[in-house]
Amino acid sequence: MRASLHSAVAGLGLAIAIASGATAAEVAPADVKFTEDNTVEASLTGTPGDPAKGREVFADRRLGNCLACHANTDMKDQLFHGDVGPSLDGVASRWNEVQLRAILVDSKKVFTDATVMPGFYTLNVGINVREESVGKTIISAQDVEDVVAYLATLKE
């Protein structure tokens, strides 16, 4: 219910962006600017995030696969939530959007190198990356914006 409302609103935003011809260039992984406070202030794409799409990316095992590590009551219809990381219930009350964007882009910048959370929009990854993933990020710049928009709906 909540998700579909958001999707309608975001869809509207998208339509306006396309209509006005605003196709801001995507920021490449290496060019993402982190502030001293470990935030990423600017959108990676210029296109507002779509929370409904973000919700799908969050759950999709081939994309975010966030449920592998995080419980999320908003997705209680899905079996098996991991407990590797904290529950993301109310996460938007703990972090604001520019912080969430930073966590998603490269969690190691925010949580230190010791974290097990993958960086989802960085090329600063492990050795021996499989051939089809070399030079690629786990999710796209727009996926990041969509997931950030979705996380922003998870308020206490």
């Binding site: 219809d77 991991g82 492990g126 050795i127 021996n128």
Partner: protein
């Protein structure tokens, strides 16, 4: 929408063999008994080990999965072990010999053997595991072709040989040849982050041991039950296949079976399970 449905359906299908996320935490406090024989499924770790206690993967599985291992009659992997027994007694190769021609009754000649591999192989100047020892016998003593990885009965025969050590605590002798330097190399690999997901073996099986990663309860990643039976795929899984599976899951390119990398890992991971009973064939989700 469709996608969610499929995932949900798959999850429900697995629900009978898997636990529900978040409900399990630590390994259970139970002792594995197989056909009345007590296994060492938790024990004090050897000196220099990152854990105080080492745990068998059995302690992390659901009640239903655990039950399948307590009685060899119910253990679905025993069919494979029986196939291995038949291979043991079957003549193959130019020399007209079977394993039994040289080794007789495996229940006697192979008792305890599986608990002490990998061993240093002077001829190859590298460590070998049971699979490679089988291939060595086939080539040198039977005049037969070596088995390709995971094929031709390699998993079944390996399971049969290791099953003769059921209950024997794992102990490898690192003073043989250059085994210690392979242990060193294996250790380095174990702690190196790999792939697009940027994770090391140690992240999942040491730092996160006991946590749920989606539907999987993370164990110490021990290999005392290998080859194990995988309920999901309905067949035996070799150690090197399991290693490659974990490496693939972090989106890294995985080394060839029996490569230097995987043999070094096997030496090191075997050591990490020192003192645990051989449980071959273990049963897993």
């Amino acid at each position: 929408m469709n996608k969610y449905l499929k995932i949900a359906a798959a999850a429900v299908a697995c629900a009978t063999v898997l636990g529900v996320g978040g409900l399990m935490a630590d390994p259970i406090n139970e002792t594995l008994t197989i056909d009345g024989q007590e296994m060492v499924s938790r024990t004090k770790a050897p000196e220099g080990h990152p854990f105080d206690e080492v745990y068998s993967g059995w302690l992390f599985r659901t009640e239903e999965t655990r039950a399948l291992q307590t009685d060899t009659f119910n253990n679905p992997a025993m069919l494979g072990v029986e196939v291995g027994e038949a291979i043991w007694n079957t003549v193959d190769g130019k020399e007209g010999k079977s394993c039994a021609s040289c080794h007789g009754d495996a229940a006697e000649s192979m008792k305890g053997i599986g608990a002490s591999y990998p061993k240093w192989d002077k001829d190859a100047n590298r460590p070998i595991n049971i699979e490679l020892q089988i291939n060595k016998c086939r080539e040198n003593n039977m005049g037969a072709e070596p088995y390709p990885f995971d094929k031709g009965g390699q998993k079944e025969l390996t399971a049969y040989i290791k099953h003769q050590s059921l209950g024997t605590p794992v102990k490898i002798d690192l003073s043989q040849g250059e085994l210690q330097s392979w242990w060193d190399k294996g250790k380095e690999l174990y702690y190196t982050r790999n792939g697009q997901l940027n994770l090391a073996c140690s992240n999942c099986h040491e730092d996160l041991m006991g946590k749920m990663i989606r539907a999987d309860h993370l164990s110490q990643g021990q290999i005392n039950g290998f080859p194990t039976y995988r309920l999901k795929s309905g067949g035996l899984v070799s150690v090197h296949n399991r290693f490659r599976g974990c490496i693939r899951d972090v989106r890294a390119s995985f080394p060839k079976a029996f490569s230097d990398e995987l043999m070094a890992l096997e030496v090191y991971v075997t050591w990490r399970g020192t003192g645990l009973s051989v449980e071959t064939p273990g049963v897993r989700q």
